[in-house]
Amino acid sequence: MKVAYYSPMSPSRSGVADYSALLLPELEKRVDVVVARKGRFRRFPSADIALYHIGNDPEAHGWIAKALEARPGIVVLHEFVLHHLVAGLTLAHGDSRGYLDAMERGHGLAGRLLAFGVVEGRIPPLWETRPEAFPLAGDVLAAATGLIVHSYYVENRAREAGFEGPVWRIPHPAWPPGDVSPAQVEGSPLLGCFGHLNESKRIPQLLAAFARLRAAKPDARLLLVGALADRLAGMSVPEGVIREDYVPEERLWSLMAACDAIVSLRSPTMGETSGAAIRALTLGKPLVVSDVGWFSELPDEVAIRVPVDEREVETLAAALEQLAVDGAARGEMGGAARELVEREHSLPHVADLYAAALEEAAGGGAVREVLLKDIAQAAGEIGIEAADPELGEVSARLDEVGLGG
């Protein structure tokens, strides 16, 4: 069976390019894969099924969304909120009407009116201010013949949006950590926060909570690693915080390995997973996360979840202090994190799940047709018609065991 594989690939710095670099070699051991390249999809690769990795970044995923529109297939929905992608495919190319139509399809007349406001510059771009309220995933869902998601959160959002096709929930694969030597960084405890540091990472809240921890534990340090978003550029970095900008992969692992616990906050969530959180679990590091989206689905044993509410900073400070003083709890959480990765996120396991989903999807329609034809023929031969209640019973039984849809 052959799969046409659409994804941003290296040298793209997209997280999905990293994801595919990790997954592809293992997937290729299980199914034939032909990788589609940007700009070369006028003639679709000959394959039994197409797999499209869709995320919110128009630079990385715009061409993939267009290919999907032309040839429906299985979509790996890396995040549910695709407003930025849709804006990039329309407004960025001067296609105001396309954006207005997309907003109307997603959110009715009110959506169209808001889009007018954006187009005419009367209100700030929605993809910067409230994208989570206007996810604009509808067009992608309409073209998807099946979905692969990483979380129940995205699955539920897709179902709420009316997606009726098959959904496979496949955990994010873990990177093999290799031989990691912890970096020499002071701090007792040493906390870390990694990734692109934008507003949704709750950096001001993290810094406020860390300041409280420092009052009780003056030796505590916070490693803040990653490119800072423009809007946070003027932010002052308090005492005890160690800043590093974008670091190469090897340094990233090394810095993470030096930490006693890793903080991975998020709000609003676009339904994404966090590569930094997956790496932290791989290294057996306790996590502190926001109680939203995919992060909410992490088990208690590996993560302390902090609700995003008016007491967020207090709760976060308490969580950091708890981990700071309780080495045994850190050890237990670290052990549970490693077990979780082994059980759910190991690369061979994830590739097995992909192969299963792709094989089910590629031939599933034909299999279903043969089965239904068999049943219909047998029913017809003894005089049972399509409208007879007996066939309703048959249909219910088919659904029960996953053979109906």
Binding site: M1, E359, V367, L371, I375, E400, V401, G402, L403
Partner: protein, 332 residues
């Protein structure tokens, strides 16, 4: 209790699974239950036919029969466990292995076509649903339980099934090796025939199956093929043989090792045989060797003293597996 024991039936074929289900019914009746076999013919080819056949079980209504409530169904192997019942217990002999560990081997049945690949995945999904809804899940051996866990994530308790009741006895250790079972490729009787030819060991091979003609050609008159035998003949062959060969590929369990042990006969098996390795231990209850002609050939040569000693050790193991304890766990 009114208990329906569900098993698929390949018409004109009778093997361990059929014997097991019949015996279970008999044992349940002996303990005062109303028990009955429920059977549906099974044909697993061509292609997607396996799903249609599996689905037939789903359409059965076993909640009651002629106004009498059926309290419990005990399903045994694919696809009988697709049956629908509020009190379904599965005592798993095996899944449809062509969809799992036998896939992409010479014993597999699914090609690389998109349809065949999808059929295989549908079988797997069916298993997760049908086995997952069982109130209790038992597996006949550690091997079966491990395979189930690896393929579906479902946990089963290991519950070995006692062998059929025969007039087990030990008459002699005559210089022949005995093999009994369905004659298909998975049972690896060809390995036995080639190995026996190397050492000049006499063979008696009982059972029927699609591979019989090929095996008879391979043996070229050096083995006696008895076909299907009666219970009395079977007990007699166990009673007289020197040892029993039983080395299918990654077998579920099979009743043969315990039957051999109850006749105080050692079992020759291979390191990749799966279930038999739960009870056949090297030079304790038989021989466990690499699955090569040379290794099996050497293992078939067993002196009478060793055969007796290992057979008696096997009998001690087999006597612990009783219907009383099995049924207690099944109905708990």
């Amino acid at each position: 209790m009114n208990i329906a024991v569900c098993r698929p039936q390949v018409p004109f074929a009778r093997g361990g699974a059929e014997i097991f289900a019949d015996e279970l019914v008999r044992q349940l009746r002996d303990r005062g239950h109303e028990a009955e076999i429920v059977s549906v013919p099974f044909k697993w080819y061509p292609g997607q036919r396996v799903l249609t056949q599996a689905f037939l079980w789903r359409l059965l209504d076993l909640t009651e029969a002629d106004g009498r409530k059926i309290d419990l169904v005990v399903a045994t192997k694919f696809p009988s466990y697709c049956v629908r019942h509020p009190n379904k217990v599965v005592w798993l002999l095996h899944q449809f292995r062509q969809a799992y560990d036998l896939d992409r081997t010479e014993l597999g049945q699914f090609s690389e076509s998109a349809e065949d690949r999808a059929t295989r995945r549908r079988v797997q999904r069916l298993d997760r649903t049908a086995l997952g809804e069982a109130r209790k899940l038992f597996a006949t051996s550690r091997n079966v339980a491990d395979r189930l866990q690896a393929s579906t994530g479902l946990e089963a308790e290991v519950l070995p099934h006692p062998p059929q009741e025969l007039a087990y006895r030990t008459d002699a250790y005559e210089p022949f090796v005995f093999s009994v079972g369905r004659l298909d490729r998975a049972k690896r009787i060809d390995l036995l025939i080639e190995a026996a030819a190397k050492q000049g060991v006499e063979l008696v091979i009982s059972g029927e199956g699609p591979d019989r003609e090929r095996l008879e050609r391979l043996a070229n008159g050096r083995a006696r093929f008895t076909g299907r035998v009666s219970e009395a003949e079977l007990a007699d062959l166990y009673a007289r043989c020197r040892a029993v060969f039983y080395a299918p590929v990654d077998e579920d369990f099979g009743m043969v090792p315990f039957e051999a042990f109850l006749a105080e006969k050692p079992v020759v098996t291979t390191t990749d045989a799966g279930g038999p390795l739960d009870v056949v231990r090297e030079r304790e209850t038989g021989r466990v060797v690499e699955p090569t002609v040379d290794a099996v050939a050497a293992a078939l040569v067993i002196g009478e003293d060793d055969a007796r000693k290992w057979g008696q050790a096997g009998k001690a193991l087999a006597q612990k597996v009783t219907w009383d304890s099995a049924i207690d766990r099944l109905l708990a």
